[in-house]
């Protein structure tokens, strides 16, 4: 019986519908986990391992209010061309030479999902 429970729990975890965060954008989630977490944090709250030493704090991507003020095209530009391109801090880097436009569009969609501030 125990084995059965363990097996079905495993099956649940593996089933794509039961992915814990339930993201509709798994590729963007993977990119975020690789490139953005260092500053924006494992919990997407702006508290990555680099944040403590930074003079401008990384944006809290779970902050629905602040994130809903940033339109999609600005978000796209901030990620592709860096903070300076949208009159924000240079500490938000340029990602356009690492990520394709398609990947950045998907990240924008993923961030809308993360902030629960979709339109």
């Amino acid at each position: 019986m125990k084995r059965l429970i363990a097996h079905s729990a495993l099956a649940l975890c593996l089933s794509p519908l039961a992915v814990h965060a339930g993201s509709a954008h798994p590729q963007a989630e993977r990119n975020y986990d690789t490139y953005c977490v260092q500053c924006h944090g494992v919990h997407r709250n702006g508290k990555g391992i680099n944040a403590a030493h930074m003079s401008v704090q990384p944006r809290d991507h779970t902050d629905s209010k602040a994130m809903s003020d940033v339109p999609d095209d600005e978000m796209f530009k901030a990620i592709k061309e860096g903070g300076l391109a949208v009159n924000k801090s240079i500490l938000m880097p340029v990602w356009g030479k690492v990520l394709s436009d398609a990947e950045i569009h998907e990240l924008v969609a993923y961030l809308r999902e993360t902030c629960k501030c979709g339109k």
């Binding site: 993977r30 990119n31 986990d33 690789t34 490139y35 977490v37 260092q38 500053c39 944090g41 494992v42 919990h43 709250n45 702006g46 508290k47 990555g48 391992i49 680099n50 944040a51 403590a52 030493h53 930074m54 003079s55 860096g82 801090s89 240079i90 500490l91 880097p93 340029v94 990602w95 030479k97 690492v98």
Partner: protein, 224 residues
Amino acid sequence: MRHFLSALLLLSATAFAADGSQLLQQQCAQCHALSAPPQTSIDRLWSRKGPDLYYAGDKFQRNWLVAWLQAPVRIRPGGEFYRHHLKDGADGDAIDETTLTPHVKLDKDSAVAVADALLALHTPAPVESGAYKGAAVSATMGAMFFGKLRGCAACHQDAPGKGGMSGPELYTASSRLNADYVYSYIKHPQAFDAHVWMPDAGLGESDLQRLTGYLMQLKSGAKP
């Protein structure tokens, strides 16, 4: 007969210790790529157990290698790959030191042999030889560019405890790394690994010279 056998064993052990490339294959290859991977990917970054060494000959200074291999100290505060070594801290993410293990240590003879074997690795690395011109850089100016103006300090420390933790420390760059490697890496990190988590900032020549000069002229380990 017993004596003869153990003498033979001892002999082969020393001969073996002097063979740096064999040592590399036997003790290092499980964590380090010694030849260029056929392709890179995000998955490879996540499963890598140590930094790539296949372009070590273009990257490291010999004295540093010989010394470090005998007494390794941490270079990447968050280990490799940093994402495997995070935990919840008091105020945000923190490095989980308990998951970072000490690096293997070599005796002097093995360190020399391995260093020379590493320095012979020159798999097509995009290091532009002679790129760094070596002009003097004011430390104050350099620090300003490294920090405020170009944002390198978000991920790198230029003094112990000062700066970000997702990239290797750079306060020992001047004794550890070759200047042309530093220049080439800053210019285009993705040429070394297409998926590495250091962005290409698209810097111009004067920034590249200034930042390389700043790092190469920093006294190793100087206090903030």
